[in-house]
Symmetry: C2
Subunit: 217 residues, 2 copies
């Protein structure tokens, strides 16, 4: 069954939800819960059971009606789908506050993302230590990516520097970018770019707050 | 027409997309582009034109076939929908690396989010300066939220402290929370909680990288 998952069929909006399901399932596993229904999952996630069943349907039929899903099996399938059955080498480019916060973020390592390097352009920052890593010069990024088979670059430099560092990472052979810089990176063939804008999260909240204000009228 | 938008009908997955559209439209406005088609928008966003038209349809018919959407009008409607036609008072709880990075994030202010306070529990951090704000004691959070009509709290404390600080903020009357702590906050009536997990962004990338590996097989 594992090989029958056609990832191209999974819609883009579904992928972040799969990550959320996986986190809840890990929690259930730690609590020694062997099985879970879509209804229970929905309650734990404040989500919709029908949506969950639909999302799971992309992987074939692994729920048994009335019995629920096997937690361990589901974790295995979701992990495989999300590419977490392998290790990914990751670098952070930009050792400012956000870069350092992300470097110390424990959740990454737990999911198989291995932070192998951190880079900055400032001579005041290059050579300093962030946890076990020494900050390297951005000029060495392409070479480092090439030599260390780095898959993913997290970009946390200021907006005006982001396009250049992305270019350097791509030169070195990077295949995936998570860009926190508030600027749109140009598309590059064979490179998947995920643009993260932290103000989006605030907008989702203001949307709902103004919705409540509306419904009180 | 503004009053005819029924926000309850806008699906949850649509809201972050609206925020993305708005950013691109702001860029078009700065470049003095008066009109844009869903196809042009789709190209700029690496998105699907049909999806964009569907998302816009929740606001009624504001596109004219073959002519496109009026940029200024669209910005106005999207902003209103996202609650950006008013100012929101925001506090950050947790003045560590991530809290400080977010406090300095310019995008917030531009969209009408006004950072009015930053809090921490460490006596080494309380009283220090983050930009124009002085870090206050977490114990004062509820009172501050009440007295300053704070709408939204951004939580960037460690996992074990998050539930308590959320409680304090809610006691003070907070209505919206963006939680970066890797722990699920309990639901509270009348409070909208947005859980942000930064490792989700990496998983979206690993999903696509492993998909490409699959399609090469």
């Amino acid at each position: 069954m594992a090989n029958s998952i056609d990832k191209a069929k999974v819609p883009q909006a579904t992928v972040p939800r799969l990550a959320r399901y996986l986190r809840v399932l890990h929690k259930l596993e730690r609590d020694n819960v062997p099985k879970v229904s879509s209804k229970e999952l929905a309650e734990r996630l404040d989500a919709n059971a029908a949506q969950i069943r639909k999302d799971f349907s992309y992987f074939g039929e692994f729920g048994v009606r009335g019995v629920g899903y096997e937690v361990k099996y589901l974790i295995g399938e979701l992990s495989k789908c999300l590419g977490l059955d392998q290790e990914w080498n990751v670098v952070i480019v930009g050792a400012g506050k956000l870069g350092q916060a992300l470097a110390r973020y424990r959740g990454f390592r737990e999911e198989g993302f291995r932070l192998v390097g951190i880079f900055d352009s400032s001579r005041y920052v290059i050579g300093t230590q962030v946890d076990e890593l020494v900050v390297q010069a951005e000029l060495q990024l392409a070479e480092f990516v090439r030599e260390n088979k780095v898959h993913i670059a997290i970009i946390t430099v200021p907006a005006q520097a982001a396009v250049l560092v992305a270019q350097r990472a791509i030169e070195g052979g990077i295949k995936g970018i998570v860009n926190f810089a508030p600027v749109r990176l140009p598309a590059a063939p064979g490179v998947f770019i995920r643009q993260v804008d932290l103000s989006t999260e605030l907008m989702v909240v203001s949307f709902y707050l103004s919705q409540n204000a509306q419904s009180r009228v």
